[in-house]
Amino acid sequence: MQMSHHIDPNDLGPNGRAEKVSAGKLHAAQYIVAGILIVLITGLWRLQVLGADNFRALAEANRIRKVPILAPRGRLFDREGRLLVDNYPSVSCYLLREQVKDFDADLPLISQGLHIPIEQIQATLRRYQIAPKYQPIPLKQDISPDEQAFIAAHRDELPELETLDEQRRLYPRDGFAAHLIGYVGEVSEQMLDDPRYAFYSPGDVVGRSGVEQTYDSLLRGKDGSRDVIVNSHGKELGHLGQELAVPGKDLKLTIDLDLQIAAEKALDGKNGAIVAMDPHTGEILAMVSRPTYDPNQFSVRLTKNYWNEIINNPDHPLLNKSLQAQLAPGSTFKIIMSVAGLQENVAQTMHVSCNGGAEFYGHFYACDKHHGAVDINNAIPYSCDTFYYTLANRLGIDTIAKYATSVGLGQKTGIDLPDEVAGTMPSTAWKLKTQHDKWFAGETISVGIGQGAVTATPMQLARALSGIASGGVLRRPHVVFADEVPSDMQQAIQESFPGSGDATIPLTTENWQLITDAMANVTSSPIGTAYAAHLEGVDFAGKTGTAQVIGHDALAKTNKGHNTEPNAWFVGMAPRRNPDIVVAVLWEHGNWGNNSAKLASQIIDAYVNKQRKLDNNIRIAATPEPAKPEPAKPTNPTSEAPTVPSAE
């Protein structure tokens, strides 16, 4: 039978129906098929030829996960290289949000396995909402071996969980030097808003106070990362390469561990602060504030209980009282008064007769004793208020303020630690500016004995005494040696912590000798207020201060369980001229300056003993071994005696 492409009567079947499909339509079908395939090929061309690079990058991103390698944080040592702060390995659990399919369904299991309440996980997620999706969220730090096993066992169901080996901070126990060292914690939202923290991401661990905060950028190093090939379930299939972490720099602090121990012991069970420094360099040798806290609690899962305990403690354990307690300096201020009085040529010739106080401007100002005839030489050891009331009255507030400011009162010292406060040194200009009122001459009288509007921190007093005792050069205190820090960072730190910096005090040699001799009598003479703290054979000098925390009248009225005992101050040094060490002690409600002097003497004692031991060692090392008697040979030409060839 002939093939035909047309319907014609021959193609009709037995019942007269067409037996063939129109050939035109079948041709059309061929074109339709070809057309569809061309459209599909165009689609493939678009993806595989034009978009290949873009999609290749996406495919890489799909299977490569950057696993961070955390840089170990730099350790901290004391000035002799003794370890203060170390790291220990720990494992943390992270949430990879890109791996999450149905988090609400997984939540109960995660909560149960990691022992974290569901609400807490949800709160964490909310906190990280702004963070990019690829960034892992820390769910729990320092997880237990059981929790690690849980994560490993549920890898298939919970591909979003990832563990990460980390280094955790290990601080000395019992809050030792806690305020100086500081602590680390997760970067806070407020910090992230601060341009200085622009390079930090949520979840980063940063120094939150003390040296940890100031030198964070040096201590933290630089995190690296490892490129891991994973499948869609997060299972590792291999890895490509890695960028190693740059460990943080180890830092040597100016702290002397022995002195720090002595200072910690001295303040044990008390509230207050101790600062010990090298007056020639501004190096801080010891710094203690009490009460203290445990910085380890901050570096790993700070519990709500511990936080509440710290925050609600009326003695404010987080406060570094060395830098943040601004209190009336009491009679320690008399040293500054003496400088002012002598330099103004007023005090040399001043003689007062102390009968337990004196009257100024119609008001009686009391002294705690009848000192009788007092001049500048015994005014300091007696701590005679009457003398200084009179001196203050003669000098006037602005002259006093000029000298007090020159030794750094009313300004930050610029120490390389956060949150220092400035204290107050009143003057007529100060009062006009802050209280829009004029200064009354009567107010000057109280300032003369370190009461009234004048306030200072232990650090300011230590520095002021350092300047006076060393002959007039005031150093910027610091806790990290300058050569430990790159110069650009030193610059940045000095700018972040502005203070008066190094300065020279107007003080003649004669006056310097007079003041330091008088201070020596405070501790070494039986007439001195701190004779009880004297150290046999040690040239230990200083000045006590007993500062009322509340006025006499108010004291009579109040009875509310507040501690109304005066604050006990002492600033001391050894030896009296060109001292190697200056100590400032604040014992809150310690009652008498004498009590603080005894604490200071413990630190001076530790210092002197250590120096003696060192000196002895040097002396022993320097002593030549006794020569063995060698009677047989009177001379030994072959031994150490060099035979120098004669130069001809």
């Binding site: 039978m1 098929v33 493939l44 993806l47 290949a52 290749r56 495919a59 799909n62 499948n231």
Partner: protein
């Protein structure tokens, strides 16, 4: 009446192309399941292919006129089996599509209904040959296809239900629908579709999500957009030459969803690139041209109709599946004939080819 048929007239060239595609299929299934729990599916696919080829030869021996004679019975049984699926079917992935027989055999009636519809439509239009189509004729043809379609949609299995449409369209086209009628039908369908989409009542939420994902794949990259996004990445990252067999990171890393069934072409494109993909599409082109040629040489009208029905279904599946993989179509669960893993799909394809061979072998016989 058929008296004699010979394997000399069997389309060996067509079979060659088909077997070449089947080989590619087996290799790609092997690659795509290499690191998964579906490892070994390539062996199962070989068994399906063997069964399919056997059935192809068997059905080629039965004169297709006999099949047309009994198609009204088959159609009845089809509709009943689809109803049965809805009542006693095994629920898999949220849909009832399979009837489970003792001995672990799963049977998906909707696949073989395709074949029955092809035969039924051929028979129907044969009866109308030489006559101008009236609205009544069009309505009856539409009803014949829409009834099983509705039952399959109910399962729900939008993908398979949609494959019935090209059978109807092909029938109407070859059966002589007039341009004016086409315009009105398209208008009506567009209207119904528009209203259905607007009211949203006739699409499951997941189906709406798929269409949304198609419009904007990045809108929900972890949700409904995930599949299409991963598929585009797989295809695109394959580039011109591909990443090599068993080396596709999207396929091997389990990022590409179901890379051995609906997304097998994406897996193939990733590993063999634009060049490989063109090769496969060329093979399809050759197969389809060969089929249309067989329709041209068929000895009678129902033969041509049946072959063109098969062509329509295969073209539609290629267009929808490959279109989906390259992002030109929304995600629909339609297998790619001869490439996707799956017994029902393999059996349908080879039974269809068996009937095509059957028609070809009888092209000189009357």
């Amino acid at each position: 009446m058929p008296r004699f048929s010979s394997y000399r007239d069997f389309d060996w060239v067509l079979l060659g192309f088909v077997l070449l595609l089947s080989l590619i299929s087996v290799l790609e299934i092997k690659s795509a399941t290499l690191h998964t729990k579906f490892h070994g599916f390539d062996h199962k696919q070989i068994q399906f292919l063997a069964g399919g080829i056997f059935l192809m030869f068997v059905i080629s021996l039965i004169d297709y006129h006999r099949l047309i004679d009994i198609v009204h019975w088959a159609y009845g049984v089809s509709v009943l089996s689809l109803i049965a699926v809805l009542i006693v079917g095994t629920k898999v992935l949220g849909g009832r599509r399979w009837i489970k027989f003792p001995g672990g055999i799963h049977f998906q009636p909707s696949e073989w209904v395709k074949l029955v519809l092809i035969l039924a439509v051929a028979r129907y239009f044969w009866g109308l040959a030489g006559k101008e189509l009236t609205w009544g004729d069009i309505g009856k043809a539409a009803a014949m296809v829409v009834v099983p379609m509705a039952l399959v949609l109910k399962q729900p299995d939008l993908g398979t239900a949609l494959t019935y449409l090209p059978i109807l369209i092909c029938g109407l086209f070859l059966g002589g629908i007039r341009v004016k009628q086409v315009g009105l039908v398209v208008l009506a369908l567009a209207l119904i579709g528009g209203v259905a989409w607007k009211s949203g009542k006739h699409l499951k939420p997941y189906q709406q999500a798929r269409i949304n994902a198609f419009m904007d794949p990045d809108s929900d990259p972890r949700g409904s957009g995930y599949q299409i996004r991963q598929s585009l990445i797989a295809v695109g990252s394959g580039g011109i030459w591909g990443k090599g067999a068993n080396k596709g990171s999207q396929t091997q890393g389990d990022f590409l969803p179901i890379p051995y069934t609906d997304f097998i072409f994406a897996a193939f494109c990733e590993e063999h690139g634009f060049v490989g993909a063109i090769g496969v599409l060329l093979l399809y082109f050759l197969i389809l041209m060969r089929l249309i040629q067989n329709a041209q040489t068929a000895s009678d009208l129902p033969g041509s109709f049946i072959i063109m029905g098969v062509v329509a279904v295969i073209v539609f599946q290629i267009a929808v599946n490959v279109g989906m993989v390259v992002g030109l179509m929304p995600v629909t669960g339609i297998p790619l004939p001869l490439l996707s893993y799956g017994g029902s799909s393999v059996l349908f394809t080879f039974l269809s080819l068996g009937i095509v061979m059957n028609i070809r072998m009888r092209r000189f016989v009357n």
